[in-house]
């Protein structure tokens, strides 16, 4: 069983600007979960399309209830591949993104198509499709539901990040306010402190056993 999801999005920037921003979108204030980014293949085809493969490392936290079904030392990050084709003649960009880590547990495949908005040529429309599946016996449905929910929240982050970079490119002050940034910082600091405390606690526990 595969969960299918489809939605449309709109970016109020030209297709050219969106493509330029696509290559510069990390880091942005909404991409703290993206740890590394690399181009590992790139070529211009004889038909003048640009094809690229990007390798990303992202943090991947499983929810509590899922943790006990996972291998104890499972990496807390995942490798993602994002292939893309930019066709400057047709003015289309197509991307296909999927995880190559933990794929048996949960596989998320996403396809996006960026085109000029037919009603307003200075805007770009996106069609986003996703296929979410899991092969964990007895849990696949629950994991797929979780994956879909998380995928939906990630879309809003992606879009905010995109808009942030587009605004920055166009020399505007990104709409994220100082207060918003401060709240985010505070949240991150709190999270870091919590992680550190957990770490200390587990060290302390280990020592007890020695």
């Amino acid at each position: 069983m595969v969960k299918y999801f489809c939605c449309a999005d709109l970016l109020k920037s030209t297709w050219d600007q969106v493509c330029i921003a696509f290559w510069q979108r990390y880091p942005n204030p909404y991409s703290n979960h993206v740890l590394t980014e690399d181009i590992i293949f790139r070529e211009v085809t004889p038909t003048n399309c640009l094809i690229s493969r990007r390798l990303l490392t992202k943090t991947s936290r499983a929810p509590r209830w899922m943790e006990r079904y996972l291998p104890k030392h499972m990496a807390s990050s995942a490798y993602i591949i994002e292939d893309s084709i930019v066709d400057p003649q047709k003015r289309t960009m197509t991307t296909f993104t999927w995880n190559i880590s933990h794929a048996r547990l949960m596989s998320v495949e996403e396809r996006c198509e960026y085109k000029i908005n037919p009603e307003n040529h200075s805007w770009t429309e996106m069609k986003r499709e996703a296929w979410i599946s899991s092969n964990v016996y007895g849990l696949s449905r629950a994991i797929q539901e979780f994956g879909l929910a998380r995928f939906k929240t990630s879309i809003s982050k992606t879009m905010k990040g995109f808009e942030y970079i587009l605004a920055k490119m166009q020399g505007e002050t990104p709409s994220r306010t100082l207060a918003e940034t401060a709240t985010e910082r505070a949240r991150e600091t709190a999270l870091a402190a919590k992680e550190k405390a957990k770490d200390l606690a587990s060290h302390a526990q280990k020592k007890q056993f020695v």
């Binding site: 493509c19 290559w23 790139r42 999927w98």
Partner: protein
Amino acid sequence: MNSVGEACTDLKREYDQCFNRWFAEKFLKGDRSGDQCTETFRKYQRCVQKAIKEKDIPIDGVEFMGPNKDKPES
């Protein structure tokens, strides 16, 4: 943004800068007059491909636009 190979980040940034200029000023405008980023790309690839091997990242044989093939058009 950092590279997956810690030692490659500087090479990556140098390449990214070159690519972004070429992409915006030439590629999108249909100007096919050569790409000055070839050499920086080669250096960066040498570094990052080595890092991928060392970290055992399973990218070998993964087809372009890979698992997309069997998907319904819908």
